[in-house]
């Protein structure tokens, strides 16, 4: 009896390790190891056919001379600026309205605004490519018929319009998801805070400013950080937009939509097969993203102290 008891207790002690092991095994093997091993690769000269040659920081030095590296860096920052504010404003607006209890058809609105998130990026790239076509796209004919533009805009053929389209597509795709995050956050805020604010005579706007926004801060930090990191990852939609229909322009016109992921993809899996060089770019962008995230985090927490 006591023997079986102690065996059961022993099993209970080991069980949690066994239950977490599938996750950490798969994670370690396919996420952690590759990220660490990429650091080693970045210090070598390695291409498809040969063996790795240790070259120290040679790849890093080369990347610092590479104008495309700076393009990717700059584009990532530009996309952060073009994407984060509209995405947050639209998502906040929707989530506040849908939780206000004043709007009908909440379920339908929720579903419709989530549709872009469930649409595969290949479809998104293809459809927007057609809608934003220079000569025959709906967007240009709509703008012309409204009298906004005199002549057609070459959306996908010029740097800034291209960036605008990519940013727009990204906001379009992800704002519904961000809105769910905010919805979750708002649902978690205690009703009593609003009742107290009501008793103090606070208007709806004031309640939003002094109750909702501060209480949403953790969700906000999470959303901003993940969106920032997401800007480095943008790949699928522009890849479809700019290479999907015959033309093969890496990074869009003049590299205007070249992001970190695309640059790595092109160096390693495109025509070049330069594993070491691509890895060094991954690491430099990684450091850059960490730095920007850290600064943002500090900045947002500073706001809380004030």
């Amino acid at each position: 009896m006591s023997d079986s008891m102690s065996r059961a207790r022993k099993a209970q002690r080991w069980a949690p390790y066994i239950f977490v092991s599938p996750f950490f095994l798969i994670f370690g093997l396919f996420s952690l190891f590759p990220i660490l091993f990429t650091l080693y690769i970045s210090l070598t000269d390695w291409s498809l056919s040969g063996a790795p040659q240790w070259i120290g920081f040679g790849n890093y030095a080369e990347a610092l001379q590479d104008s495309r590296f700076y393009d990717a860096l700059l584009n990532t920052v530009i996309f952060m600026i073009m994407i984060i504010p509209p995405q947050i404003i639209i998502a906040l607006f929707i989530s506040v309205l849908l939780t206000s209890g004043r709007v009908p058809f909440v379920g339908a609105f929720r579903l419709v605004n989530f549709l872009p998130y469930i649409t595969t990026s290949v479809a998104v790239g293809l459809i927007f490519g057609i809608l934003f076509d220079w000569n025959f796209g709906s967007i240009n004919s709509m703008l012309a018929s409204l009298g906004v533009t005199q002549e057609n805009i070459n959306w996908l053929g010029q740097p800034w319009p291209s960036r605008f389209v990519v940013a727009m597509v990204t906001v379009w795709k992800y704002f519904g998801y961000t809105a769910v995050m905010f919805l979750v956050g708002i649902t978690g805020i205690s009703r009593q805070l609003y009742e107290a604010a009501d008793l103090d005579g606070a208007s709806k706007m004031q309640q939003f400013r002094y109750v909702t926004l501060p209480m949403l801060r953790p969700v906000m930090v999470f959303v901003i950080l993940t969106t920032m990191i997401g800007c480095f990852q943008i790949f699928d939609e522009p890849y479809m937009l700019f290479t999907g229909m015959g033309a093969s322009v890496v990074g869009g016109p003049e590299g205007a939509a070249l992001t970190g992921t695309w640059l790595i993809y092109d160096n390693v899996f495109g025509s070049l097969s330069r594993f070491g060089y691509g890895s060094s770019i991954a690491y430099m962008l990684f450091l850059f993203i960490c730095l920007v995230s850290f600064l943002t985090f500090r900045l947002m927490n500073k706001g809380e102290d004030a």
Partner: protein, 273 residues
């Protein structure tokens, strides 16, 4: 529902505008699949045309059903595996005390912020060493370890599995693995729906990794197969769009059925922490 004030009406109107913008490209996709390719570029389409059958024929003249089947195999496998892996780890984090628990959990949360793209070069070389290139394994197994999934299940397990039930199971002589399959999994069922939906969606729509690891077009999933359609044959955009529309139907169905669960599930579990 209270009465709409003037602000309420403005809000509702803005909401409608956003929803139209949100819906229009999606609607376009469905409508465009009924047109002939060279008609796609002529003005705004709001009504369906009559070319659906022809697009259907050109789509099914290639092996579209094989792509569909591949997508189903990959997505269902990842979903089942991912939900189980997440549930096991979530159960351990939520209901046990053990050494290194907090350290491991912090590690887990930290990894949610690191995208796999940073390690993609070594990942692909690793797949080559394993002989996994041009197989479905890189699409099924690595995504099954998802930090968000574990976090999600931990929150749910902590709040919804009563420790007394686990104890009485142990007193009745149930082993720890038995507890997991017979008691824990049924308790976690509501969390499966939400997490399973997300796993399925991510896997179904995945493009970057399949693009890198698959060369053999008999293994292509829908996004890859549809993209290849542009290169291999004439650029039949309308047929491609029909394929993408058909490819969207499963996720659309799941999400319409479960969208209420999804949002409420997220709300009841993720934030309470």
């Amino acid at each position: 529902m209270r009465k709409l004030g003037i602000n309420g009406w403005i809000g509702l109107l803005l909401m409608l505008v956003i929803s139209v913008v949100s819906f229009y490209p999606f609607y376009s996709m469905i409508i465009m699949s009924t047109y002939e390719s060279n008609e796609l570029y002529t003005g705004i389409k709001l009504l369906p045309s009559s070319y659906l059958a022809e697009n259907w024929n050109s789509l099914f003249s290639i092996d579209f059903l094989a792509y569909y089947k591949n997508s189903l195999i990959v997505s269902i496998s990842t979903t089942v595996l991912g939900v189980l892996v997440s549930a096991a780890a979530g159960f351990a984090f939520g209901k046990y005390e053990f050494r290194f628990k907090n350290l491991l959990f912090v590690l887990l949360l930290g990894t949610m912020m690191i995208p796999m793209q940073f390690g993609i070069v070594a990942f692909v070389l690793e797949m080559r060493w394993f002989g996994w290139l041009n197989t479905m394994l890189p699409l099924i197994i690595p995504p099954a370890a998802n930090a968000f999934g574990v976090f999600w299940m931990t929150q749910f397990a902590r709040s919804s599995i009563p420790s007394e039930v686990l104890e009485s199971g142990r007193i009745d002589g149930c082993g720890e693995t038995g507890l997991f399959f017979r008691i824990v999994l049924p308790f976690l069922r509501p969390a499966f729906v939400t997490l399973g939906l997300l796993f399925f969606l991510w896997s179904w729509n995945s493009f970057f990794v399949p693009l890198i690891v698959l060369n053999d077009d008999s293994l292509y999933t829908i996004p890859l197969g549809i993209r290849a359609l542009a290169g291999q044959f004439r650029a039949d955009n309308a047929a491609q769009i029909l394929g993408l529309t058909l490819g969207t139907i499963p996720v659309l169905l799941f999400f319409s059925i479960f969208s209420k669960n999804l949002i409420e599930g997220l709300a009841s579990s993720a934030v309470k922490g």
